[in-house]
């Protein structure tokens, strides 16, 4: 282990940790970002969960609506924190010249990206804790110890996939002004066919197949699976885990492509 952790690598890892702290400080001071990340999903959680309290979903074996909806809206919250924030945030950093400034310093590029990803993971952890706390305190949703491993696996893979995809998509975002348009265009339609807001048992097979081909459905479904009272075992849903793993690989590839220097230029 010590052979791998050379002094210079150890110093760089220290830089990543300290940079995560600055990214966090920066993040929590900006109210607008906090509203998009926390207030929106929480607002939807409270509105829908309250409206449907006591409702049972007969198509899903009679489970309470909130056991379905809370993990679904958590998926929405995680996507907002990872994909949306990364894509729009990177476009803004690029437009403002901050990426260029960072590039002129000795901070290695990988260390800066690692710090931004690390900071995102912390925000995902925070929003997961807040939403599950609200869900269990007010809407009777239970985090079960038995299905916790499956829940964690989906959370980790979902965060990895959507964070890397968020950086990857910036290649197709020419400036910060179009970023919210492109990001929402790639997310919102999919959330409706991906059973984030309500069950979609009756939808045409073609739409269901489209939903399954993209990563939102596996994330929402994997979380809903872990919260379904009928789920036994450790809560692992092989299909969803496999889909998210493939999307993580695609995300890493797209991220590396997006970070690669355009021909002849260092960026």
């Amino acid at each position: 282990m010590n052979a791998v952790l050379t002094p210079s690598l150890r110093r760089d890892l220290g830089l990543v940790v300290s940079q995560i702290r600055y990214e966090q400080r920066s993040y929590w001071r900006n109210r607008g970002r906090g509203i998009f990340t926390f207030v929106f999903p929480l607002m939807f959680l409270i509105i829908f969960a309250t409206l449907n309290q006591g409702v049972r979903l007969h198509n899903l074996g009679g489970i309470p609506y909130d056991d379905f909806f809370v993990p679904g809206i958590l998926a929405y919250g995680i996507i907002g924190t990872t994909y949306v924030n990364m894509a729009i945030g990177t476009a803004v950093l690029r437009d403002q010249g901050i990426l260029k400034r960072m590039q002129g310093t000795p901070l290695p590029r990988w260390a800066y990206i690692a710090a931004r990803i690390g900071s995102t993971v912390l925000i995902v952890a925070a929003i997961t804790v807040v939403m599950l706390a609200v869900g269990s305190i007010f809407y009777g949703v239970h985090v079960r110890l038995s299905t916790l491993p499956g829940l964690i696996a989906i959370l980790v893979l979902g965060t990895a996939a959507f964070t890397t995809l968020g950086i990857g998509i910036t290649r197709f975002i020419s400036n910060a002004e179009v970023a919210p348009v492109i990001v929402n265009l790639t997310i919102l339609p999919l959330t409706f066919i991906s059973a984030v807001w309500f069950p979609v048992n009756g939808i045409p097979t073609a739409l269901a197949d489209i939903a399954k081909a993209f990563p939102i459905r596996p994330l929402a479904d994997g979380l809903q699976y872990a919260f379904n009272p009928h789920t036994g075992g450790a809560g692992f849903n092989g299909t969803d885990i496999r889909a998210l793993a493939i999307w993580t690989a695609a995300g890493v590839y797209l991220m590396l492509r997006a970070l690669r220097r355009p021909q002849g230029e260092v960026r």
Binding site: Q19, R25, S26, V266
Partner: protein, 324 residues
């Protein structure tokens, strides 16, 4: 000659092409260690391309470039440790305070200057705990300067460092830059302000249409030191040009305002003032001037623009295409 020891920057036959546009067309120059070198030129002349190649942001199309003995295109960390950069219009994390930003950027360097020292140097003491997004344009530029100096660099690139400063802040920045020279730092400066180049630079080079069209010390650029001086004064209307004594050079008058262009300004001044004292004439607004750097600069760039075809290519536009 051991170039890596004596030269901070060495550029030979540098070319930069964007698509079919040749933004830099064979530029060569050297900057010695400890020197303040100033690159002048109109917008679109190729200055920014040259600077960004040296800073490692762009890759040259052809030619050679060495910065502190290293190839800037390889963007080595060792080079970035030793170079400070003030970019034009470059943002900063707006939700962090001045002190936090200096501390944060300082961590990236193995050798660094203290936060307090830098805040004092750029005179941002009162804004120490203010978030960057609440700073004025001039204060942001001073923060830029602090961030460029945080790694105690040997070589500092300053791309129009005082744009948007009020006159007092500009003088302040100049004294900071001079103090850097006193410490033996090398400064590579681009500016639109001729007084800035005059006041700071040991050597200037003028670029136009991708080429260096003149270089030298600010005082001798374009033969400035051998140009005729201009003596100007107001001659009360009861006197005419013919009443003045013979002086070397050419005389002209417009209204009461007399101009004498002469290569012997001392002799001419002495004759004119002696005559004035003898005849008890008050010569208002009396002045003797060499052509300013700005006069020479405008002359050089205007002459060069007339002889080149591609000078109208807008560099800003080209850059946008590249970064899109």
């Amino acid at each position: 000659m051991n170039s890596s020891l004596e030269l901070a920057i060495e550029v030979r036959d540098l070319h930069k092409t964007y698509g079919t546009v040749e933004a830099v067309r064979g530029v060569s120059f050297e900057v010695a260690r400890g020197e303040v070198f100033c690159l002048l030129g109109p917008n679109g002349a190729g200055k920014t391309s040259v600077v960004e190649i040296l800073e490692g942001y762009r890759i040259r199309s052809d030619g050679e470039a060495r910065v502190l003995g290293m190839d800037p295109a390889r963007s080595e960390r060792a080079l970035r440790e030793r170079v400070g950069i003030v970019l034009q219009q470059c943002g900063v994390q707006g939700d962090l305070t001045v002190a936090e930003l200096i501390e944060m950027y300082g961590r990236y360097y193995t050798r660094r200057r203290s936060v307090d020292e830098l805040i004092e140097l750029v005179d941002l003491g009162e804004k120490r705990d203010t978030r960057a997004k609440q700073l004025s344009g001039g204060q942001l530029r001073r923060l830029d300067l602090a961030l460029a100096l945080v790694g105690d660099p040997e070589l500092v690139f300053l791309d129009e460092p005082t744009t948007g400063f009020d006159p007092a802040a500009r003088r302040g920045a100049w004294s900071v830059i001079r103090s850097l020279c006193d410490l033996g730092k090398t400064i590579f400066l681009t500016t639109h302000y001729m007084d800035e180049a005059q006041s700071l630079a040991n050597r200037v080079a003028v670029m136009n249409a991708g080429q260096i069209i003149a270089s030298g010390t600010p005082d001798e650029l374009g033969g400035r030191d051998s140009r005729p001086a201009e003596i100007r004064f107001r001659l009360p209307s009861r006197w005419s040009l013919g009443d003045l004594p013979d002086v070397p050079g050419e005389r002209s008058i417009a209204g009461e305002s007399v101009a004498v262009m002469t290569r012997e300004p001392v002799v001419a001044t002495q004759r004119i003032t002696t005559w004035a004292v003898e005849h008890d004439v008050e010569l208002g607004h009396f002045s003797v001037n060499q052509p300013t750097l700005e006069d020479i600069y405008l002359e050089l760039t205007a002459a060069s623009a007339g002889t080149t075809e591609t000078s109208s290519s807008d560099e800003g536009h080209v850059n946008q295409e590249v970064s899109a």
